[in-house]
Amino acid sequence: MYDPTVARLTYRALLGRRRALILGALPLLLLVISVAVRALTGADDQTAADVLGGFALATMVPIIGVIAGTGAIGPEIDDGSVVYLLSKPLKRSTIILTKLIVAIAVTMVFSAVPTMIAGLILNGNGQQIAVAYTVAALVSSIAYSALFLLLGTVSRHAVVLGLVYALVWEALFGSLVPGARTLSVQQWSLAVAQKLAGGDLVTSDVGLTTATVLLVAVTVLATWYAGQKLRALKLAGEE
């Protein structure tokens, strides 16, 4: 179910060149903001929750998820180099699962780790804020990776669609339309964070059970469907 060669190729494609710069830029920005906020306002639980919830979980994690998830397969499909994977006696589901694992790992490293560090800088993990948001980042990394990997297999405009989902749907509609918040990876992961953080600093519109079921369902379905799409992927079409 996991192929080390596919993983190596995916890592090297993801962490090479420009993409690594973009992946590194947002965590760096988060850390700079955290240091500045801490220096200006001192340690404050509410501020820490605002920064981690408003920037780390709402913006940074989904964008990194888009870059890692779509980048794990989209460019190979676009330029046709995926043919070197597809022309091997290798199960399509193995290719997808391996790429998913790589995308999850990259998203976790570039989003959960900086979230933890930022939380420690902001209030030294007071009220378990840092841990709660780190767990939320880890959980949402899995679902975002699966969703955006699927987008990478179905559309040539995966990055744009992914960003539209992450920024327009989750951030904009989520704040305007209450119903939209229920269908949001961010809210599901907040439900998990809510259990861990002290006080009322972290809240979610979704109950923990619903959130867990939806997280698992979205991850499994997206991965399964991506495998199906890859099985029927047509490389021809130039003529």
């Binding site: 190729l9 046709g80 043919v83 070197y84 597809l86 022309s87 006696p89 029927a232 490389l235 003529e239």
Partner: protein, 303 residues
């Protein structure tokens, strides 16, 4: 022995029919798939390689379906036309990765790199390779598991003459070893130099199949048309029409030239300069007016 069977295969994209009811059998040795650009060669090769489902019909390799059958790739090596190939890797890393994906090791990769004579540049990034080097590394990646069927889509595109010779030699050797090698090309001379057996596809249809000499004869024996300008068109016309190699001449007044139809290509090309010299006529222009590949192919389809 590996035989690839294409049985009543059609493929359409929306309203466009790219491949129209083609049946052919490709056996051991080198086979050339010839046709003008846009004839459906790539679509056909993609179906042979299991990357595209036929809309109707079937493609099988020794009786096994090719579409949605990953295990078949143990026997198939594919050299795609597209350039993209993990440019951030070195040639060696790329071929080793391909070997590993077949469950093989660095040894198999090294052997394949040696076969295509790319060991000297194996540690350079693919992004620094020339077109010919890329082609050879692609070839190594296709040979790494010693496949019995090799499919190559326009392998000579963009290669210089020396690289072309090397690749032809390699493919010839593969064919002599008993492998089934199929390559596509839109250039007659390429196919002629390499393949004993050719399959011609024109506008999605199977136009001809068989020994290249027979098909080549069909192509050269067709009437050839030339546009000729000279210092004395009428005198030249009179001298040419006296020979049976010329079947018709028209004096094109607006162009200020002769339109000559020759039925015996070899004889006419020898006759024209001789006649001109004998009559003291200077030839100013001699240009074939229907030498485009499309016209050659359409003649072939009609034949």
């Amino acid at each position: 022995m590996t035989t690839l069977s294409i049985d009543h295969v059609s493929r359409w994209f929306g309203n466009v029919v790219a491949v129209n009811d083609i049946t052919m059998t490709i056996g051991p040795g080198v086979t050339g798939l010839l046709g003008p650009n846009g004839a459906g060669k790539s679509t056909l090769i993609n179906m042979m390689g299991g990357f595209l489902a036929p809309s109707t019909g079937s493609v099988t390799l020794d009786g096994q379906p090719v579409w949605r059958n990953e295990a078949i790739y143990k026997h198939i090596g594919i050299v795609p036309e597209r350039e993209a190939m993990y440019d951030f890797l070195t040639g060696r890393e790329f071929v080793v990765a391909n070997a590993e994906l077949h469950g093989l090791g660095a040894k198999a990769a090294q052997r394949a790199l040696a076969t295509v004579e790319m060991e000297y540049a194996q540690d350079r990034k693919i992004s620094t390779y020339s077109k010919g080097m890329r082609q050879r590394v692609k070839m190594a990646s296709a040979l790494v598991h010693d496949p019995s069927l090799l499919l190559l889509d326009e392998p000579f595109n963009g290669m210089d003459p020396r690289q072309r010779m090397q690749l032809m030699e390699l493919l010839r050797r593969m064919g002599d070893e008993g492998r089934t090698v199929l390559f596509s090309s839109h250039i007659l001379e390429e196919v002629e130099q390499l393949a004993r057996h050719i399959e011609v596809v024109v506008a999605g249809r199977h136009a001809a199949s068989g020994d290249f000499r027979r098909i080549r004869r069909l192509m050269t024996d067709r009437p050839h048309r030339y546009l000729v300008r000279s210092s004395d068109d009428r005198a030249l016309a009179a001298a040419l029409i006296a020979d049976p190699s010329t079947s018709g001449i028209e004096v094109d007044v607006t162009e200020g030239a002769l339109r000559v139809q020759a039925v015996d290509f070899g004889r006419f090309t020898a006759l024209l300069p001789k006649v001109a010299r004998d009559h003291g006529i200077r030839l100013l222009t001699v240009s074939p007016s229907d030498e485009s590949l499309e016209s050659v192919f359409s003649y072939l389809v009609a034949a």
